[in-house]
């Protein structure tokens, strides 16, 4: 009954590969986010979607491409993975009109 679920939880891959992380929320929210948490635990927003439309795109390399097939899903595709992409990626969701954001359990990406 997880509210915001991400798959996979762990991902180990080689430099140069392309990988995707999936996120689904069953809260009926219309806004979803991707955040990146680096090795120093610093959390920074990457993208935000509202009703499948991109509304926030922070300064993120264009190797990162989010896709929202419907308002319950927000996936993150990363091309040509680099060592510096190693981090924990969190999906979050919020209902427009409310302020509380709910986070998934994270995907730990390790690029070797």
């Amino acid at each position: 009954d997880t509210a915001v679920s991400q798959t996979p939880k762990y991902l180990v891959t080689q430099m140069g590969n392309d990988k995707s992380i999936k996120c689904e929320q069953n809260l009926g929210h219309d806004t979803m986010y991707w955040y990146k948490q680096d090795s120093k635990k610093f959390l920074k927003i990457m993208f935000s979607y509202n009703n499948k439309e991109l509304i926030i795109n922070e300064t993120v390399p264009n190797r990162f491409s989010p896709k929202s097939p419907d308002k319950a899903h927000l996936n993150l595709h990363i091309n040509s993975l680099e060592l510096g992409d190693s981090a924990v990626y969190f999906c979050a969701s919020r209902q427009q009109g409310n302020t509380e954001a709910f986070f998934g359990q994270g995907t730990r990406l390790t690029v070797v």
Binding site: T31, Y33, I56, F103, G104
Partner: protein, 113 residues
């Protein structure tokens, strides 16, 4: 303008102590100030939040104090317990930026039995 500064980086208290974590912001457009708690291997979870129209908010053992003129806010944990050991993040957000959360750098709290 978008930064949220958090201190201290780490904090150790004895059980029953009152750890205090401080945050400061610059952007006056922020109108929502949450605190998130994160345990190892888990996502951040909302603990308590405040709007700038009040100076204090209490929920259970957790209290936010807010000073609008100083652009500072802090988290107090009363009667702290070992189970409170976690990393705490302050954050700020505003309606003008679709409530994207700008996080502080985090405080690792250890409560000793």
């Amino acid at each position: 303008q978008q930064q949220v500064k958090q201190s201290p980086q780490s904090l150790i208290v004895q059980k029953g102590g009152i750890p205090i974590i401080n945050c400061a912001y610059e952007n006056t457009a922020f109108d929502y100030f949450p605190w998130y708690q994160q345990f190892p291997g888990k996502g951040p979870a909302l603990l308590i939040a405040i709007r700038p129209d009040v100076s204090e908010k209490k929920e259970g053992r957790f209290t936010i104090s807010f000073n609008k003129s100083a652009k500072q806010f802090s988290l107090h944990i009363m009667d702290s317990q070992p189970g409170d050991s976690a990393t705490y993040f302050c954050a700020a957000a505003g309606m003008d930026s679709s409530y994207k959360l700008i996080f502080g750098s985090g405080t690792r709290l250890l409560v000793r039995p």
